[in-house]
């Protein structure tokens, strides 16, 4: 991608920005330079060191270029690698090449300075850093140019007036400037290390520390040069150049470190689902290595973001903080407000966003389901309560309406006896019998609709009445001892009623027991028989309907077998008394 973006630029620039071309070109050029240096009788050790360092930078550059966020750094590294061996031009016999080699021999130092002072964004950190970078370029080029004016040599095209003393003097000053620059660089790096936080610190730390480690030798070399001991200076230069390999190594360490974290990011899904005391924000902050991270949740109702406590949150303008929006099902669900350094790791951000999106979408769905469930439960409770009210009303209507009329009818039939013949009297009496039969049936029906004994005397009396009317002997133990809410009493009553009906209908039982009990939170009812068992909720609608009625009150029902034979039904109804 980077290569494509740079198409149209000069070939050299294109190679420097191409992660694939870079390495072979660097190797070939390096070998060419080494051959000419060897031919000119240069030190083999020095050549080996230079090649290793130059290729290390090229390798680091190739890796950096393959990652969009590190592209600028990659270009700088490639340039450092390319300029590392420019001094070797001085082994050429051509005066032009020699002079170019002379002039650009220390350009790599300026590129190195720029690389360090702009790592990892690739943009020089600050105005003061820019000043140092500019000074370095001026110094490495200017010093060589000035010395070149006086440095005696046959291939030196820059030579104006051969004068070794002036050249040496200028070199001494140049070394002093170099010392000053390297001190300034160290100060900037240390300040940077102090100020860096979180992710950015972790990415940059190894390379910046490597730069710090490499500088003392350069300082030493500069001091030697300042004092005119050029022989010591050049010997130190070899060691100094070798230590610069620390910089690509630092780069790789930083990269590995962030890769390590990306591995952790891939386990984020597992982490985030664990829950626990840590909030989502805390877990994200840990996974991303950014303690300053904030999570803003999108609220559709208000059309804005809120923090975890639900307080409205303004997203900061771009700059100090970066904002990444988390999408779920195409709509924003949250925004991460984080350290801009994280943007250098788009993969990490992407995987975190995907995970957070999943988690938040999941939470949103779960919340919706919870809400709907609560609504359904409430409506179920209302439906049952409404049905109970209706039963109560119906029972009362039967008593006050139909029953009274039938009693009145019976009276009328009896009053009609007066003055009738025996046959008519007998017919009237039979009609009266029918009315009484109807009343009896009506009474049974009314009791099934809503037992008055439950309403007036409570559960204990009503259960006793149920036991009395059961077709098998029933023992009742325990008691409730108090009145409960209408809904609870009715549910409990129907539970016992249905359970005893089941016993007589299906169980082939010889006896049954009903146990009533209550603790602070709930009413417990157990109905047990010694029948054939096999009761389950699906058999008939009786038990299933019971379970629904109990569930409407947040109650539960358990059906379990009794050893050696029989069935036990246990109902638990919260009564909050």
């Amino acid at each position: 991608m980077g290569a494509r973006a740079l198409t149209g630029r000069p070939l050299g620039a294109r190679v420097l920005a191409d992660s694939v071309l870079l390495l072979p070109v660097a190797v070939v050029l390096g070998l060419l330079a080494a051959r000419s240096a060897l031919a000119a009788g240069a030190s083999e050790t020095a050549i080996r060191i230079d090649l290793v360092v130059a290729w290390s930078f090229a390798a680091a550059a190739a890796v950096a270029l393959s990652r969009p966020a590190l592209h600028r750094v990659g270009v700088l590294m490639a340039a450092t690698s390319a300029t590392w061996l420019l001094g070797y031009l001085q082994f050429a016999s051509s005066p032009l090449l020699w002079s170019a080699g002379w002039l650009l021999a220390y350009l790599y130092l300026a590129l190195l300075t720029q690389l360090v002072l702009s790592f990892p964004e690739g943009r020089v950190w600050s105005p003061s850093a820019r000043l140092v970078v500019s000074a370095t370029y001026a110094a490495v080029l200017g010093t060589q140019l000035l010395i070149g004016l006086y440095e005696p040599g046959q291939r030196n095209l820059l030579l104006v007036r051969p004068d070794q003393a002036v050249a040496d003097g200028i070199a001494q000053v140049g070394n002093a400037i170099g010392l000053a620059i390297v001190i300034a660089l160290d100060v900037l790096v240390v300040l940077r290390l102090i100020r860096l936080r979180g992710v950015a610190r972790r990415v940059a730390l190894p390379l910046l520390v490597a730069a710090l480690l490499a500088t003392p030798l350069f300082a030493l070399r500069s001091v030697a040069g300042m004092q005119g001991d050029f022989e010591l200076r050049d010997r130190l230069q070899q060691v100094d150049q070798a230590t610069q390999i620390l910089i690509p190594i630092g780069f790789f360490i930083g990269l590995a470190w962030s890769r390590l974290r990306r591995t952790r990011a891939s386990t984020l899904v597992v982490e985030l689902r664990k829950g626990g005391a840590e909030t989502l924000r805390d877990r994200l902050a840990r996974a991303l290595g950014d303690p300053t991270l904030k999570v803003a949740y999108w609220l559709d109702e208000s059309g804005g973001y809120v923090d975890e406590a639900g307080h409205p949150l303004e997203l900061p303008p771009p700059g100090d903080r970066a904002v990444t929006t988390v999408l779920a099902a195409g709509a924003p669900v949250a925004a991460l407000v984080h350290d801009p350094a994280l943007l250098d790791e788009p993969d990490l951000i992407e995987s975190v966003c995907a995970t957070v999106g999943l988690v938040l979408e999941n939470e949103q769905l779960a919340a919706e389901v919870r809400e709907q469930l609560a609504e359904v439960r409430a409506s179920r409770a209302r439906i049952v309560a409404a049905a109970d009210d209706e039963r109560r009303r119906l029972e009362r209507d039967l008593h006050d309406g139909a029953q009274q009329r039938l009693v009145g009818l019976s009276l009328k039939l009896r009053l009609a006896h007066a003055g009738t013949d025996p046959a008519t009297t007998a017919a009237l009496t039979r009609a009266q019998d029918d009315v009484e039969e109807a009343l009896s049936e009506l009474r049974e029906f009314a009791r099934g609709v809503h037992p008055s004994v439950l309403r007036e005397d409570g559960l204990d009396a009503a259960v006793e009445a149920l036991a009395r009317r059961a077709s098998v002997p029933v023992d009742v133990s325990g008691s409730v001892g108090m009145r409960l809410s209408d809904g609870v009493e009715l549910a409990a009553y129907f539970f016992v009623s249905e359970a005893l009906t089941n016993v007589s209908k299906h169980a082939e039982a010889t006896r049954a027991t009903v146990a009533l009990g209550r603790d602070a939170a709930a009413l417990m009812i157990t109905v047990e028989d010694d029948g054939v068992g096999g009761a389950d909720r699906s058999r008939g609608s009786g038990l299933a309907g019971l379970a629904d009625r109990l569930a409407a009150l947040d109650g539960t029902m358990v059906v379990e077998p009794v050893v050696p034979r029989g069935t036990r039904l246990v109902a638990r109804i919260p009564c909050g008394s």
Binding site: H399, V407, R414, L439, R443, P473, V474, S477, R511
Partner: protein, 215 residues
Amino acid sequence: MRIVIADDAVLVREGVARLLADAGLEIIGQAAEATALLRLVREHRPDVAIVDIRMPPSHTDEGLVAAREIREHYPDTAVLVLSQHLEPLYALRLIEDSPERVGYLLKERVGRLDDLVDALHRLVAGECVIDRQVVQELLGRRRVHDPLAELSPREREILELMAEGRSNQGICKALWLSPKTIETHIRNLFLKLGLNEAPLDNRRVLAVLTLLKAP
């Protein structure tokens, strides 16, 4: 016999009044609810008050409450509670203070003039009257350890009549047996039920009912 009738259903109230008047009983007042009933009782001191169990305002057990109040304050007035409920609990609540001069009949009995008049006479005579169907409801209870299982059919018959509030004499009449035979049966019966000291007349109704009520 001077009677007051309380029932919020005019049809029933008027019907009962006419029926009883035709049978030669004196109806001295009618009320549609408990307060009016109590006023009638206070003013006329009737021999019997016939009271519907459900009356305004709540249509639950106002009649029962009024009955107990009448029994407490006007001991000479007997109370017959007419009820739609077969449930023995109401009958038991009526007799738990004192089983004298109180009766509990299912409402449809008002059409059976002979039964009704008989009950009224027994009440005025100081007896206790419990609807036979209510007694059967009590005795019909099947128990795991049923004390009634040991009773002979005859003894069971006598127990039912006792529970309805019949005196020994009444039982003799109903079963065509001699008082001596009845007494022997009752002694055996109480022995089997663990009620060794046989209480007199209405006391024993209470005892019997209480025994049967126990689970």
